[in-house]
């Protein structure tokens, strides 16, 4: 192997191009991964800034800062930016960086498409955010875009639709690339059931993406024609049905929430064994559980719409199917805990974020189970209880896993260790504040506060204030995170190849940072 690599390095034409054009024209999986991750971080801050405006207005009762219409624009675009701009690109970035390395390949299978799928995104989001400067402002009908409300939007409406089309195209291309890479670029001996769990979860996620992004594209296109070409898909006066949109949307939307969480499961399944110094418990049951969750995600969509007035039989079916998801999800949590059990644990920042993930994602899972119970959901639906639920699974779930992965792999990416003390501070400040931010929202929702309102009755004042204070601290601690990342890129203690004492897997056999082309010679799989 070494001799081959040596001769290869005689040609010096395989390094990165110089200057800015390197990033525009790159087809290298690591460069594109970096672009995705930086883009995602920027969008995370943009979406976070909108969340700060929301929490500022909700700090106390009465309208102090923004107009209700602008408030609705904030909630709508915050969600779109966080889902499509922050979490999804972060996962694609991680996939780009890690998948080829983890399966022992040199690069992604389709490098030019890889470049294209990234470079669509900045334009898509420029268009989406550009709607703020159009007549009528940004879309304000909620990220779920329910008609007829969304059709009342201003000039920004078609731009939002086209932005979503572009994001969808980008996601589908990314997903195709992931599948083709995993199926074709594995080193000899890397059988499917030997792949690291992060690869597995992304493999399944990619199928979900290909299955549902076109559904979303279809739904929003129908909105577009309803608005501009006099179709009446969603208008009862023309024989259509507004609820039809909700069915189509959530047929996309529910698998989408697993798109946002399955890679997180994979990340945590990489990190916990490393810091417990013990192999992952129940590897094959983890794979089957992930597949079951993916399958079930296609048959539970209407639990987002229990209040639309479905027939009893429909409500019962969707309630039972939704409750079933608790089983494979529970299996995953139990397996993680069994991995920790009788290990030899240390608690570096990636492990802290992973444990934070397991605990707080489970809390979000509990409230999810409560929401699955249809008669109780008639009370919970569209209240802050739901807001608390999905922020527990998305912020302390998906985003915590992404943070964990950044701390876990950044020494590999940059060749520098991050500052452990700062990382731990970041974890603890975030964890305390995120609970101050979201836990009281359970109470608000149960006590009767609807979601998506810019102002509220005075009985909700106290918990809203707590929540806002928590949000400001959480927001600031993410600025601190940006600083930690910046500092690590710039310098720091030199990282070893293995980085973590208990780390196993192909990525740790390469130098830190790895060579421009990851495995030019297939590694040997034990």
């Amino acid at each position: 192997m070494t001799t081959v690599t040596d001769t290869h390095e005689d040609h010096h034409d395989h390094g990165p191009a110089k200057g800015l054009m390197r990033w525009v024209t790159t087809t290298n999986h690591k460069d594109i991964g970096t672009l995705y991750l930086i883009f995602s971080l920027i969008m995370f801050m943009v979406g976070g800034a909108m969340a700060m405006i929301i929490r500022l207005e909700l700090f106390q009762p009465g309208l102090q800062f923004v107009d209700p219409g602008f408030f609705n624009q904030m909630t709508t675009v915050h969600a779109l930016v966080m889902i499509f701009g922050a979490v999804m690109p972060a996962f694609v970035g991680l996939a780009n960086w890690m998948l080829p390395i983890m399966v022992g390949g040199p690069d992604m299978a389709l490098p030019r498409m890889n470049n294209w799928s990234f470079w669509i995104l900045p334009f898509a989001f420029a268009m989406l955010l550009g709607t703020f400067f159009m007549d009528g402002g940004a879309p304000a009908g909620g990220w779920t875009m329910y008609p007829p409300l969304v059709l009342q939007g201003g000039n920004g409406f078609p731009f939002m639709i086209f932005a979503i089309h572009m994001m969808g195209i980008s996601s589908v291309m990314g997903a195709i690339n992931v599948i083709v890479t995993i199926l074709n670029m594995r080193a000899p001996g890397m059988t499917l059931m030997k792949m690291p769990l992060f690869v597995w979860t992304w493999f399944i996620t990619a199928y979900l993406l290909i299955a549902v992004m076109p559904v979303l594209a279809g739904a929003v296109t129908m909105l577009l024609t309803d608005r501009f070409f006099d179709t009446t898909f969603f208008n009862a006066a023309g024989g259509g049905d507004p609820v039809l949109f909700q069915h189509i949307f959530w047929f996309f939307g529910h698998p989408e929430v697993y798109i946002l969480i399955l890679p997180a499961f994979g990340i945590v399944s990489q990190i916990i064994p490393t810091f417990a110094r013990k192999p992952l418990f129940g590897y094959s049951s983890m794979v089957y559980a992930t597949s079951s969750i993916a399958f079930l995600s296609f048959i539970v969509w209407a639990h987002h719409m229990f209040t639309v007035g479905m027939p009893l039989q429909g409500e019962l079916f969707f309630m039972y199917a939704t409750m079933l998801i608790a089983v494979p999800t529970g299996v995953k949590v139990f397996n993680w805990i069994s991995t920790m059990w009788k290990g030899s644990m240390t608690f570096e920042t990636p492990m802290l974020f992973s444990i934070g993930f397991v605990i707080m994602f489970t809390i979000g899972g509990f409230s999810g189970l409560m929401l699955a119970i249809a008669p109780a959901d008639f009370q919970y639906h569209d209240t802050y209880f739901v807001v608390a639920h999905f922020h527990y699974v998305l912020v302390t779930g998906a985003i915590y896993a992404i943070m964990a992965s950044v701390y876990y792999w950044i020494p590999k990416w940059t060749g520098h260790m991050y500052n452990e003390k700062m990382g731990q501070w970041h974890f603890w400040i975030s964890t305390v504040s995120v609970n101050v931010l979201f836990f009281p929202q359970h109470f608000l929702g149960l006590a009767g506060m609807p979601r998506r309102i810019p102002d509220y009755s005075v009985q909700f004042a106290e918990f809203n204030m707590w929540s806002s204070i928590g949000s400001f601290v959480f927001g600031l601690s993410q600025v601190f995170f940006c600083y930690i990342v910046y500092k690590t890129i710039k310098g720091g203690e030199k990282a070893t190849d293995q980085v973590w004492e208990g780390a196993e897997g192909l990525e740790w056999t390469l130098p830190s940072p790895p060579p421009y082309h990851s495995f030019t010679q297939a590694p040997e799989i034990k």
Binding site: L63, N72, D135, Y283, V308, G309, K342, G343, I373
Partner: protein
């Protein structure tokens, strides 16, 4: 800057005097005042405690492991990584727990769907941003919107402290009145976009969807005032369309219903008188502030790109018949609703006259209630 100071001061005050300032704030779902709401509450508590119990076991095991299986205590890693038995146990046991939860949930759900044998029916229609209640078969119907005190306080920069407004954002001008102990079937629909009708004390919410009619029912056990809000995002003023239900004894309810019928007849007779244009304009200002201001804004400037301005608009300064038609029937495919059903003849005449002669417009003509009545 002033606002920030004010905000900070009130923040500090709230934190230090929280118990005094907020005598009552809920932590949990209300038990409510109907059989359904109590069943839902019991179900909620059952699942909550099941989750707490599972949480204690799961988190307990994690915490134990984190304390005793740490490297710094000299723990040496075991190497077990598979157990078919364990996997089976934690697949089957949760499944059984789920079945135990599903049985009562199914029962409650079936009860909630049974709208048969209702004593009376009320049709609820959601409008942007008010509710309309129609007592089916009684010829009584009215609109219910945010009360004036809350409406004044909730404007951006109103400088009215919400804490001084009684039932801030949870009060309306005309509450829905229901008799105690009667099974009331509630039909829900909407005129423009989707809304959702929700009174937490009744134990459910249901969407009001334009073009479709949803069904639900409620049987309230105790007289009282029950408050709720629209729960489905319905545009700018989604946060400002509360629901108030006053539940009265059957005798009081009957008396109230009779009074409503009398008032409706009186209003019909009164509408025919002609009014002085100046008086029309004054009345029109009030109607405008209550019904039009959310979109067309205080000075009639509208919001560029979504809601057209009244000031200098072709409709408000052009042919008066077009203007009346627009206000009465709305414009299909836009957010402009028809106000024919929502406003009386006097109110319609007043608001049209106001829009033509105020908000920067000076057309100089007026329309009388009798002319509106003739158009109905």
């Amino acid at each position: 800057m002033n606002k920030l100071k004010q905000l900070f001061a009130s923040g500090v005050a709230l934190i230090f005097m929280s118990s005094a300032a907020q005598a009552e704030y809920g932590l949990n779902m209300p038990v409510g005042v109907t059989e359904t709401s109590r069943q839902v509450y019991d179900l909620h508590m059952l699942i909550l405690w099941v989750c707490v119990a599972i949480g204690v076991v799961v988190f307990g095991a994690m915490i134990y492991s984190m304390i005793y299986h740490r490297k710094s205590r000299g723990a040496v890693a075991s190497h077990f990584h598979e157990s078919m038995t364990a996997e089976l146990v934690w697949t089957v046991v949760p499944f059984i727990i789920l079945i135990v939860m599903a049985i009562p949930a199914t029962k409650v759900l079936i009860d909630m769907h049974d709208t048969s044998e209702a004593d009376m029916t009320v049709k609820v229609t959601g409008y942007q941003w008010k509710w309309r209640y129609e007592y089916i078969g009684e010829d009584v119907s009215f609109f219910s919107s945010l009360d004036a005190a809350s409406n004044a306080a909730r404007q951006v920069g109103s400088d009215i402290d919400p804490a001084t407004v009684e039932n801030y954002l949870l009060d309306v001008d005309h509450p829905l009145v229901l008799p105690v102990g009667k099974k009331v079937r509630i039909l829900l629909t909407a005129a423009d976009v989707i809304h959702a009708w929700w009174v937490p004390d009744f134990g459910w919410k249901r969407d009001a969807i334009p073009g479709f009619v949803n069904e639900a029912w409620v049987k309230v056990d105790e007289p009282g005032v029950y408050r709720g809000q629209c729960a489905e995002l319905c545009g700018r003023d989604h946060g400002f369309m509360p629901i108030v239900v006053v539940v009265k004894s059957v005798a009081d309810y009957e008396a109230w219903l009779a009074a409503q019928k009398g008032a409706a007849v009186a209003a019909k007779l009164a509408a025919i008188e002609d009014l002085d244009p100046r008086e029309l304009k004054q009345k029109g200002k009030k109607v405008y502030r209550a019904n039009c201001v959310a979109c067309h804004m205080k000075k009639g400037e509208g919001i560029l790109g979504v809601f057209p301005a009244i000031t200098g608009s072709a409709v408000a300064t052009g042919d008066i018949n077009n203007h009346i038609n627009m206000v009465m029937n709305g414009k299909a495919g836009t957010a402009m609703a028809g106000f024919k059903a929502q406003l009386s003849d006097v109110e319609l005449a007043a608001v049209v006259t106001y829009q033509r002669n105020s908000l920067g417009n000076k057309v100089g003509d007026a329309v009388q209630p009798a002319a509106i009545a003739a158009l109905r």
